[in-house]
Amino acid sequence: MLRIRRFEERCAQLYQAEKIRGFLHLYIGEEAVAVGVMEALRPDDAVVATYREHGHALARGMDPKLVMAEMYGKVEGCSRGRGGSMHLFDASTRFYGGNAIVGGGLPLAVGLALADRLEDRKRVTAVFFGEGAVAEGEFHESMNLAALWHLPVLFCCENNLYAMGTALARSESQTRVTLKAASYEMSAWEVDGMDVVAVEEAARRAAESVRSGGGPHFLEFRTYRFRAHSMFDPELYRSKEEVEKWKERDPIDLLDQRLTADGILTGEERAAMEDEVAEEVEAAVAFAEAGTWEPVEELTRFVYSEVGR
């Protein structure tokens, strides 16, 4: 979580220095969800995420250097600089993006799970999406199809209360997200998304059930993003007091306190972690800074496959 936090903070600074361009959606405050769920997944499971996916990418095991280089737009980035912040992909960790259309990744996850089922593989496809996605038609179609065909999908809804600037109550007639899952005959749980231990427990139970043929499962993580939707967002839609209130349950602080109280983590170890993470982040930045730009002559590559024809 600390790695994600410091990485994201550095990204914010780099964006303001115009090293990172376009859109930047930070995961600060929500780290417990990605970290907890990834803990419960196996290396050969699949992950489909959204445009707020840096945390998921790092927690899944992607090299921060490749992620940072991608943010810079360098050819050494995980997507050759073709994607940017919203389109991180990694075949080696079965990380299927980085999808910028809200709800657009859900049908893909259904398909990945369908392939596993047809080939009789015991794999889980975890798909992350915000609570805003439950308004999209593709959400409902995907939920129905996954349940109807009994597919091994783990639906992970990250409910941070706001879809860009719109609170859930302003867009949904029924704000109990888990009831929507239940209406598709899918098992669903609400989880405290600020508590990484709770997240991991719930995800592990659900993933195991999915993996052993229990059909799709739905987890709703109650979480909060401490920063704006993206870099340019005056946050007119929520009060500073609300943000401060949620910061009192910062997932990193919560885990800190718990481990310290249990005598598992010392102050020194904690400081050492900060140093280690700082080094990693700086190494990633240095890697990105030293990276190269893809030659313009290559522009028309990667529209159609060059192999396998």
């Binding site: 699949a46 980035g77 995980c78 997507s79 050759r80 600089g81 073709r82 994607g83 389109h87 992909f89 990694d90 075949a91 299927y96 993006g97 980085g98 999808n99 259309i101 657009g104 859900l106 049908p107 893909l108 996850a109 259904v110 398909g111 990945l112 799970a113 369908l114 392939a115 596993d116 047809l118 080939e119 496809t125 038609g137 593709e138 179609e141 995907s142 129905n144 199809l145 109807l148 065909w149 590559r301 990667f302 529209v303 159609y304 496959s305 060059e306 192999v307 396998g308 024809r309």
Partner: protein, 331 residues
């Protein structure tokens, strides 16, 4: 017709497609068919009749009315190692899946910097002519031809209906096959034993020297009929079947126009900003010094396709319009 050297057999376009799907599923376990009413119903156009019984419900999957989800699932399954054939009942309903096709299927290879290709085949019925009203009569293959990242093919003959599918299935990138609904009943001669055909080149269906009739899909029979009519008044028409709209075989188009010096493009889509405009632009850009007259396009009238028969006929391209256009410019 059979001769000593080449065996052929008579077959309908529908049967040809069915055979193609069946053979593909027999030869490769990764291939499966998914779409609305492809199983129990036997397919809206009876293309998949009998396949459910032969291959079972796992590989011939009836879907709910959820175009976005099942086309997206097709993409996901392709990413997951399968070779799905997704059948969207008609191009009219494909609009519900446009997000998945344009934002995922077409873009994944590029956005991932080459890591993830999508070996998906989508088949759609297209076109008008049976008085089914405006919402069921679109020809939007020209729209799809606009998008880099996908391939668009339009089989018009039974041979192409039979043999384009295996090539499409073995392609590592998304291929959309448009089957004009008016062609399903058409009959033709299929060479035996037959082999997969390419999905990149056009074919001259009939050679001629005075004018190039450039067309594809459901309009091919009309162009051939027009060529016959033109022959009776001394105009030798060449009929070029494009076969593929993306990538367009510009070499063949330019070669034909360079020989005949006159071009008539026939397309059932609307004229404004359609694929006919793209073909005309290619000719004007690269072969303008070969043109001995302006280019002519015969397309659907700028109107939603009406129900009443005489109105629908007036809206769609007709043989007489093709003949008139050719005669006007050949003189």
């Amino acid at each position: 017709m059979t001769d000593v050297l080449t065996q052929t057999r008579t077959i309908t376009y529908r049967e040809a497609v069915r055979e193609a799907i069946r053979e593909a599923m027999q030869q490769d376990d990764r291939v499966f068919l998914m779409g609305e009413d492809v199983g129990r119903y036997g397919g809206c156009y009876a293309v998949s009749k009998g396949l459910l019984e032969e291959f079972g419900p796992e590989r011939v999957r009836d879907t709910p009315l959820s175009e976005a989800a099942f086309v997206g699932a097709g993409i996901g399954a392709a990413l997951g190692g399968m070779r799905p054939i997704v059948e969207v009942m008609t191009v009219n309903f494909s609009l519900l899946a446009l997000d998945q096709i344009v934002n995922n299927a077409a873009l994944y290879l590029h956005m991932s910097g080459g890591q993830f290709n999508v070996p998906l085949v989508i088949r759609m019925a297209t076109g008008a002519g049976r008085q089914v009203g405006a919402q069921h009569s679109h020809s939007l293959e020209g729209w799809y031809a606009h998008i880099p990242g996908i391939r668009v093919v339009t089989p018009a003959t039974v041979e192409d209906a039979r043999w384009m599918l295996p090539t499409a299935l073995s392609d590592p990138d998304p291929v959309i096959i448009f089957e004009h609904s008016g062609l399903y009943n058409s009959e033709g001669e299929l060479p035996e034993p037959g082999a997969p055909v390419d999905i990149v080149s056009s074919r001259v269906r009939q050679a001629g020297s005075d004018v190039s009739l450039i067309t594809y899909g459901g309009s091919l029979p009309k162009a051939l009929a027009a060529a016959e009519d033109l022959a009776t008044v001394g105009v030798s028409a060449e009929v070029l079947d494009l076969r593929v709209l993306r990538p367009l075989d510009t070499e063949a188009i330019l070669a034909s126009v360079s020989a005949t010096h006159h071009a008539v493009i026939i397309d059932e889509g609307w004229k404004t900003a359609g694929i006919s405009a793209e073909i005309a632009a290619c000719i004007a850009e690269q072969a303008v010094w070969e043109l001995d007259a302006p280019i002519r396009r015969v397309c659907s009238a700028e109107v939603p396709i009406p129900y009443a028969r005489h109105m629908e006929e007036a809206a769609l391209p007709q043989v007489s319009a093709i003949v008139a256009a050719a005669r006007e410019i050949v003189g």
